[in-house]
């Protein structure tokens, strides 16, 4: 049995002994606040569960316990709840972090980091939102959409704001150019 089979079988075993909660069509009020996608089916890893090994799946997953390993959720949403801890890589469509995560995240769409989060790692995604107060040490790479390139600073400034030294209301003086 290779490593990935071992991890999968471990995961199946864990599911088999009902250590994971599974809900269908369940929508709690506090979940809707952090989730950009609707959840018809999701698995919940409870607060007192810890898993060592990778997780693969095709349904939404909420981690309130701890996971040490790679998580791959094709087309789904991973939520790391306030009590959740993940150490390892995360691949999913959407990721919401409210707990402690150490590792790299690759999301096809959006990563949300809430104020309760403690995140250390890299984020690659199309979009990201971060709440004030999050404990963050991250490298962020957003996918650049070819048709929606960022407006160059000079054009943006021409359209929306006066350039340096051209704002008579706020700028009093310009000083201290030593060299």
């Amino acid at each position: 049995m290779n490593e990935s089979q071992q991890k999968t079988s471990f995961y199946e075993m864990v599911k088999g002994v009902s250590m994971l909660g599974r809900s269908k069509g369940v929508k709690k009020a506090d979940e809707t606040a952090v989730s950009p996608v609707s959840r018809e089916e999701q698995t919940v890893i409870g607060e007192h569960i810890s898993i060592k090994g990778g997780i693969k799946g095709k349904e939404d997953l909420v981690i309130n316990g701890s996971v040490n390993g790679t998580i791959k959720l094709g087309g789904c949403h991973l939520t790391v709840g306030p009590t959740g801890q993940v150490e390892g890589e995360i691949h999913a469509d959407n990721v919401t972090i409210s707990g402690r995560v150490s590792g790299n995240i690759k999301a096809l769409d959006k990563v949300e980091i809430t104020k309760e989060a403690d995140f250390n790692g890299e984020v690659k995604a199309k979009r990201i939102s971060v709440e004030d107060g999050a404990y963050l040490k991250a490298v962020i790479e957003l996918e650049k959409d070819a048709e929606k390139k960022a407006v160059p600073a000079d054009k943006l400034a021409d359209q929306a704001a006066p350039g340096p030294g051209k704002e008579p209301l706020t700028l009093i003086s310009e000083t201290d150019k030593r060299k």
Binding site: I128, L156, D176
Partner: protein, 201 residues
């Protein structure tokens, strides 16, 4: 240090005083970055979603290491400030630009020098560093994030969960502490706020 309620109150006053303004230094900083390739920038916080979105769309890689919250937590744990600098464990010449915002206002001279020395090693040649300094008449114990809006407009958003000491400095003191860098431009605004843009030769 001021209580949380005091800091929230001060934050409201400060917000009224400063409102929002167009940041010339931020404009110049972004313009300079857009002339470079594969740009990497470091933002030392406080963490702010708007700024992350703004910067991440304009650079190849945005590094965010919130030193404000780390200093606050380390202080509460009784950990010496020198420990905080271990979080800046980036390789030499990693960044084309570093946004220090008003971090220096919350450090004594000795720690500012340590920070500046770290920045000197982390910045690539001709890389930029921004430093903001609040004016004396708007100084308060509330820590603020400078939130980037459209057209390089900034407004200050109080972060009452952060409790950091405050150090008032004149322009010459700021320039003296940043001596490893060459000052490019600086601006003083009617609200008393000062912005400095430095470059590594």
């Amino acid at each position: 240090m001021a209580s949380l309620a005091d800091r929230v109150g001060e934050g409201r006053h400060l917000e009224r005083d400063l409102a929002d303004y167009t940041s010339n230094v931020l404009h110049l900083f972004v313009e300079a970055l857009e002339r470079r390739q594969e740009v990497q920038v470091l933002d030392v916080g406080p963490v702010c979603g708007e700024n992350i979105s703004f910067l991440a769309h304009r650079v190849r890689r945005l590094s965010v290491c919130d030193l404000f919250i780390r200093m606050d937590r380390d202080h509460r744990k009784g950990v010496p400030l020198s420990w905080t600098w271990q979080h800046l464990d980036y390789p030499p010449r990693s960044f084309d630009g570093i946004l220090l915002w008003d971090l220096a206002d919350h450090l004594d001279d000795c720690e500012v020098r340590r920070l500046v020395e770290l920045c000197r090693t982390m910045v690539r040649p001709s890389g930029m560093v921004t430093v903001f300094v609040l004016g004396e008449h708007v100084l308060s114990h509330v820590v603020n994030s400078f939130v980037i809006g459209d057209g390089f407009r900034l407004h200050l958003r109080p972060q009452p969960h952060l409790d950091l000491s405050l150090h008032v400095r004149q322009n010459r003191e700021v320039l003296s502490l940043l001596t490893p860098f060459t000052p490019v431009r600086s601006f003083i605004y009617r609200n008393g706020l000062r912005e400095f843009l430095f470059q590594l030769d």
